[in-house]
């Protein structure tokens, strides 16, 4: 273990950590009192901006900057959405926060709402978190009792209401505009941008969408100041003018073939190796690692040789991954076939594609059908090229879809096949010795159905 002192997870080991009494006993709501007692919303915005906090939801967009995109002097209402639709495979840090320390999240949420002048906040929680739902609801009720929510909070004149909204179990609702559509009672089809939610979001009013962990970080920045936050993490790469740095503590969700899986707090910039060795207790059963997902399945793959990758916002990108994502590290040991890995991942994305944009709807389903065929021993080498072609042409980076979740569907395809091409080819040759070189289409009637 390192000498890093956990902040976000400091209290989760207490049995009553989810109650207001326990939270206040450990200094809870002091930050809120400080903010409401003498700071202006602009002060808070500046504080968060100067802390260099970047969104913890996946894209890593600077939070303070996002807040400043709201129109100036807007007559309101401005809405705040807390994105707790944590659906990225391998990710469970929001769940820990909401189940074990919900007041921390709510305090951060109130401070964030104050900074953005939002008087209504929607807490959008995924369907699959019944305990988190219960605990957050309890915490909100406790806050109303204590006067942290409602009219004229702590005599400051600022009022805020928080509404919990339970999603209906769809991955796409984690996309910020998909979340907004879903919140409005519509099909969660992400919106075309611009306009961005900061200009036109929920009910066509300016809206901020932040992640649960981001809100928790805001609470600690209000408590301890921007300098403290900046003392943790990684400075910007001087050679990359677009790198905003990766500051602060981060919750890493470590799972997969690991001795001690779990949610660990570490400074941003820890490497995969450090994470596995210092927190995870090494690969299980004494085996060797084959690869790892750096931050949720949609971020792609790091091979075992790339485990010195630093897990900050700029790190995984250097190894051909999409980014840090949710910092959910899933370690895969040497016994796993990459064909199985990719099949599983394709299944997920084909199932969760919202179906709005043609390339994602059809591409993910086609990829799955090809993986089905490869698994059934009818694969051909040309399939691998087709899969790569689907991956390369999918997402907002090539511009073929509306939302960034399609990029996430593309990255496992690209990374798995590029980084493990030999293994895929060997599998195809072995399972389809007679037909692997075939380039003609399979006769229609012999094709294996996917569903």
């Amino acid at each position: 273990m390192t000498d890093f002192e956990p902040v976000l997870l400091a209290n989760i080991d207490r049995d009553d950590s989810h109650t207001r009494a326990a939270y206040e006993a450990t200094g809870g709501y002091q930050g809120l009192k400080k903010v409401l007692g003498g700071m202006t919303p602009d002060d808070v915005k500046k504080l968060v901006k100067s802390s260099g906090l970047r969104g913890r939801g996946g894209a890593g967009f600077p939070t303070g900057l996002k807040w400043t995109f709201l129109p100036k002097d807007h007559p309101g209402p401005i809405y705040f959405c807390l994105n707790a639709d944590e659906s990225e495979p391998g990710t469970f840090n929001n769940r820990i926060l909401m189940e074990e320390d919900p007041h921390q999240v709510i305090e951060g949420l109130i401070i964030s709402c104050f900074a953005t002048a939002a008087t209504t906040a929607y807490f959008y929680m995924r369907y699959e978190y019944p305990l988190a739902w219960k605990r957050v609801q309890q915490a909100v009720d406790e806050c109303y009792e204590a006067g942290y929510l409602g009219e004229d909070i702590l005599g400051s004149g600022y009022s805020l209401d928080i509404f919990l909204h339970r999603g209906a179990a769809a991955y796409i609702c984690g996309e910020e505009t998909g979340l907004i559509e879903s919140l409005e009672g519509k099909r969660a089809w992400p919106r075309i941008k611009p306009p961005f939610p900061a200009v036109e979001g929920v009910f066509r009013e300016p809206t901020v969408v932040n992640n649960v962990e981001t809100a928790a970080c805001v609470k600690h920045i209000a408590d301890r100041g921007a300098e403290w936050f900046k003392s943790i993490g990684v400075r910007p790469d001087p050679d990359n003018p677009r790198d905003a740095g990766s500051y602060g503590p981060k919750l890493y969700c470590l799972s997969g073939h690991i001795e001690k899986p779990g949610c660990y707090e570490a400074p941003l910039g820890i490497t995969v190796n450090e994470l596995i060795d210092q927190y995870g207790g090494g690969i299980w059963k004494g085996r060797k690692a084959k690869c790892a997902i750096p931050g949720g399945i949609s971020m792609g793959l790091l091979t075992a040789d790339e485990f010195d990758c630093s897990l900050d916002f700029a790190g995984p990108g250097k190894y051909g991954c999409l980014g840090l994502g949710t910092a959910a590290v899933v370690v895969v040991d040497e016994t796993v076939l990459m064909v199985d890995f990719l099949h599983n991942s394709s299944q997920f994305f084909a199932h969760e594609s919202c179906g709005q944009c043609t390339p994602c709807r059809e591409g993910t389903s086609w990829a799955l059908k090809m993986m089905n065929r490869i698994k059934a021993g009818k694969g051909r080498l040309k399939d691998l090229d087709l899969l790569l072609e689907i991956g390369d042409n999918l997402g907002i980076i090539p511009g073929t879809t509306i939302c960034g979740l399609a990029d996430g569907a593309a990255w496992p395809l690209k990374n798995a096949i590029r980084k493990f091409r030999d293994e895929f080819e060997a599998y195809v040759k072995e399972t389809n010795p007679d037909g692997y070189m075939e380039t003609n289409p399979v006769p229609v009637l012999e094709i294996i159905g996917a569903h």
Partner: protein, 538 residues
């Protein structure tokens, strides 16, 4: 003037024009293929067929900087300095990709698909698609289910452009259609027990770029490549939607709305769309007859016009009832012909059929209660010639007090429109000429029964409720035995050859100031606003 660069060509657009990449490329003669975008609906940018490259040209340096990624043309506004590239390899590859994607699960059942021949998926695939099918997948079978009384959904042909869903939400306002399921399992559907049932439902079939939505009225009736399309105006109500009459060998198969921003945009109502069945009704009048001593006897058109002319010229007091189904030209020809015989002839606006109340939709589309196309035009012809405007009811009621030697009643109505009581009032008239499409009590009392043309057989112009004059030519020939009003009146007016509505319209514009705006100008696809001059005169 804002200047947009399309494939290197400078296109100037109006200061206030809000165009997207697809529209501005069209001005440069470049077609950007698209499925989900429709000018009358909101933009979703989801089909990704219209992907183009875009960038900006710096106003001062003239330097062009391009965006690295593709953008949907439908969603990218064209402003001063916007650059569009619609023919690069990157764009072509993206189109090929989308086409390939759309065909992965498409049943490719073109031989039995009604849309074949006018299908965007076919056309775009031919132009932008790959030559070979790389997806080794068995397409689903072509499942189908009715969405309502008017529309059948062919589930697997759908490309999920959601135009139909947006139409029912944004235009007809009933929101019956929706998307169910997710990803590649998505389908268009309705809630159980809530079928697609609104008065504009047929438009979703026109909107469908592929063969997914089939018009149950048209389904399997005719191959579209046999169909000839004629610009026309809907005669269903006084809105006067611009339409195309689609026929083959003088048989109408369907009516389709034709874009006209000054009338109703892109839509028409179901009542108009399916309101052509009377044209081919076997009960239609198709034989001109004369009342003789022993009932009616057939007459030949060749003798008829001369006989009518002689009889009318021997009459003193003549009245002509001008039906609101006549075109402006027909009404004018009959009126001037009668006036020439009897300078004090009485002109009457024919029966104006109405039904219910005007029904407006959220986007302003209105189905009018007045179920005839040309009340305004006929009215103005009558006022222009006589300064007064007796209605049908006035005329029928005054018959007891005033007697006429001859009355010519024009019709063209879709059904029987008069009753015995009214008809009885006309029984004493020595020369009663009734010209109509269907038999009626009045028809049975006529001295001469003249079959009348139906709307796709007419030639001329209608004036809609908002004083817009729209010209059209005949789409089909009338059934054997029917001479159109235009041709008959043309002949009676001692003109030779075939009826030419345009030359009559010139006479109308000279004689009646109301029509002055139409003088010497081409009517065009969108018609002419007659109010313009009227307002100027005021």
């Amino acid at each position: 003037m804002p200047t947009v660069l399309v494939n290197g060509e400078e296109i100037e657009i109006g200061e206030d024009e809000r165009l997207n990449g697809i529209q501005v490329a069209a001005r440069a003669g470049e077609e950007v293929p698209h499925y989900c975008w429709h000018p009358g609906l909101t933009i979703v940018a989801s089909c990704r067929m219209c992907l183009v490259e875009t960038g900006r040209r710096d106003a001062e340096s003239g330097e062009i900087s391009m965006m690295p990624k593709l953008v949907p043309g439908c969603q990218t506004p064209a402003t001063d300095g916007t650059v569009f590239v619609t023919n690069s390899e990157k764009v072509k590859d993206a189109r090929a990709m989308v086409e390939e994607d759309l065909l992965i699960r498409h049943p490719i059942d073109c031989p039995i698909c009604d849309k074949a021949g006018e299908c965007s998926l076919q056309d775009y695939h031919f132009e932008h698609g790959r030559e070979e099918r790389r997806a080794d997948l068995r397409p689903f079978t072509s499942r189908r289910r009715p969405l309502g009384d008017t529309v059948t959904l062919f589930v697997d042909r759908c490309v999920m452009c959601t135009r139909c869903v947006r139409f029912t939400r944004e235009i007809s306002g009933d929101a019956e259609l929706m998307v169910v399921n997710r990803g590649a399992h998505e389908e268009i559907d309705v809630f159980p027990g809530f079928p697609l049932d609104n008065r504009m439902s047929g438009n979703v079939v026109d909107l469908c770029p592929v063969g997914a939505l089939g018009d149950r009225d048209f389904l399997y009736k005719q191959r579209v490549w046999f169909i000839k399309s004629h610009e026309n105006v809907c005669a269903g109500c006084s809105t006067g939607c611009s339409i195309n009459v689609e026929e083959n060998q003088d048989r109408v198969y369907r009516l389709k709305p034709r874009e006209n921003p000054h009338v109703t945009g892109w839509w028409m109502c179901d009542e108009g769309r399916y309101g052509w069945k009377h044209v081919h009704d076997p009960g239609r009048n198709t034989q001109p007859k004369r009342r003789g001593d022993e009932g009616y006897e057939n007459v030949e058109w060749s003798d008829l016009s001369q006989e009518l002319d002689l009889k009318l010229r021997s009459s003193q007091r003549i009245a002509a009832v001008l039906s609101p189904h006549l075109t402006v030209e027909e009404a004018f020809m009959l009126a001037t012909y009668v006036r020439e015989i009897d300078p004090n002839a009485q002109f009457v606006l024919g029966h104006v059929p109405t039904q219910g109340e005007d029904e407006s939709f959220s986007n302003g589309f209105t189905i009018r209660a007045e179920k005839c196309p040309n009340r305004r035009g006929v009215e103005e012809v009558i006022i222009g010639l006589t300064k007064e405007l007796p209605t049908w009811d006035d005329f029928a009621n005054q018959l007891g007090e005033e007697s006429f030697d001859a009355v010519w009643i024009t019709g063209g109505y879709k059904t029987n429109w008069n009753d015995e009581t009214t008809a009885d009032k006309f029984s004493g008239i020595p020369l009663l000429i009734v010209q109509d499409t269907f038999a009626s009590p009045l028809w049975d009392r006529a001295t001469f029964q003249l079959p009348s043309a139906a709307f796709p057989e007419r030639d001329g112009s209608y004036v809609n409720h908002a004083d817009r004059l729209q010209c059209f030519s005949w789409a089909i020939r009338p059934p054997a035995g029917v001479m159109t009003e235009g041709q008959l009146f043309w002949r009676l007016s001692q003109k030779s050859g075939l009826y030419k509505s345009r030359s009559i319209l010139e006479d109308v514009t000279r004689e009646i100031p109301y029509f002055a705006a139409a003088a010497g100008v081409d009517c065009g696809e969108h018609g002419i606003d007659l109010k313009v001059d009227k307002l100027a005169a005021v």
